[in-house]
Symmetry: C2
Subunit: 150 residues, 2 copies
DNA sequence: ATAGATGCGCAACTCCTAGTTGCATAGTGA
DNA sequence: TCACTATGCAACTAGGAGTTGCGCATCTAT
């Protein structure tokens, strides 16, 4: 989609006629018509006004959809970063929590000579915390590195 | 800072002369000079090319610093959200961990008739976990609500 | 049916301004 | 001092953005 079509679609989205838009921009109705039909380009000042009026970036107005798509893909990669990293961080913290619990019981058994055991297998409590922490830590690091801002 | 100054600064940042830039854009050297001195505006096509060449958005090129600042503030608010929420979530998880430890001890004392006590005051272990969880939960909720995308 | 209103596109014309050519100036290294 | 580079100023041209005027649909009410 090129500039003219975009302009038309955002104008229609507001339910404005070409004339209404023309008045807001202090130009003739026919100028708007020409912009939309690709016969003319508006001046820089008008383009900025359009961007403000319709609350879209100037890039969205001027660039083709293909060009924009590239940028969107880039941005979404950046945006994916915090969420994914957060997930890994939670996994890591889960591991820390499990470790604390395990250590608590370990110390308890040692100091009180009472052989109380945790629910779940021995394997889970021996390696679970470690696996969580290592997995979460590595994942978080990879995500952080991968989507680093160049 | 207006368009001309911005153009000049990004050009200088690349270490290009006006002539070098002019060649890349297939215009005369003097055109570049006029753009930078605010005597002219380049055409839309050239503006898009400039945006590509210098890897800045068209908005950054055309809008004043004040206008851009507004947008940056908006964006930074959005970006602050995940970090702050993460902090509150960590506090919440800390509370959960403490609670689990406390419950573990509680059960242990009950079932084994051994009066083992946790290090630290009674108050800490009675209300600490609760406070952490409530504080973290409320904080996380507020942040989530406050920076919700409209 | 018709007259008026609304919304939009085409054609011709005007005029502004972006871009060009040519010249001048300032700084820099040999 | 003499090239050489980088940039600005002045005059001119041309292309295109914007305007006026006209025509053509589509609706709606009388």
């Amino acid at each position: 989609m090129v500039f003219g079509e975009k302009l038309k679609s955002v104008r229609k989205a507001r339910g404005w006629s070409q004339e209404e838009l023309a008045e807001k921009l202090f130009v003739s109705r026919q100028s708007v018509s020409k912009w939309e039909n690709g016969q003319n380009y508006p001046s820089i000042e008008v383009i900025i006004k359009l961007s403000d009026l319709f609350e879209v970036t100037i890039d969205e107005l001027l660039r083709t959809d293909e060009e924009l798509k590239e940028k969107v893909i880039k941005d979404s990669k950046q945006l994916a970063h915090p969420k994914l990293k957060f997930l890994f961080d939670v996994v890591f913290l889960l591991g820390v929590s499990l470790l604390i619990i395990k250590l608590g019981f370990l110390g308890l058994n040692k100091f009180t000579n009472v052989d109380s055991s945790l629910p779940g297998g021995k394997f889970l409590w021996n390696f679970g915390p470690l696996l969580f922490m290592v997995g979460g830590g590595i994942g978080s690091g990879i995500v952080k590195e991968r989507y680093k801002v160049e």
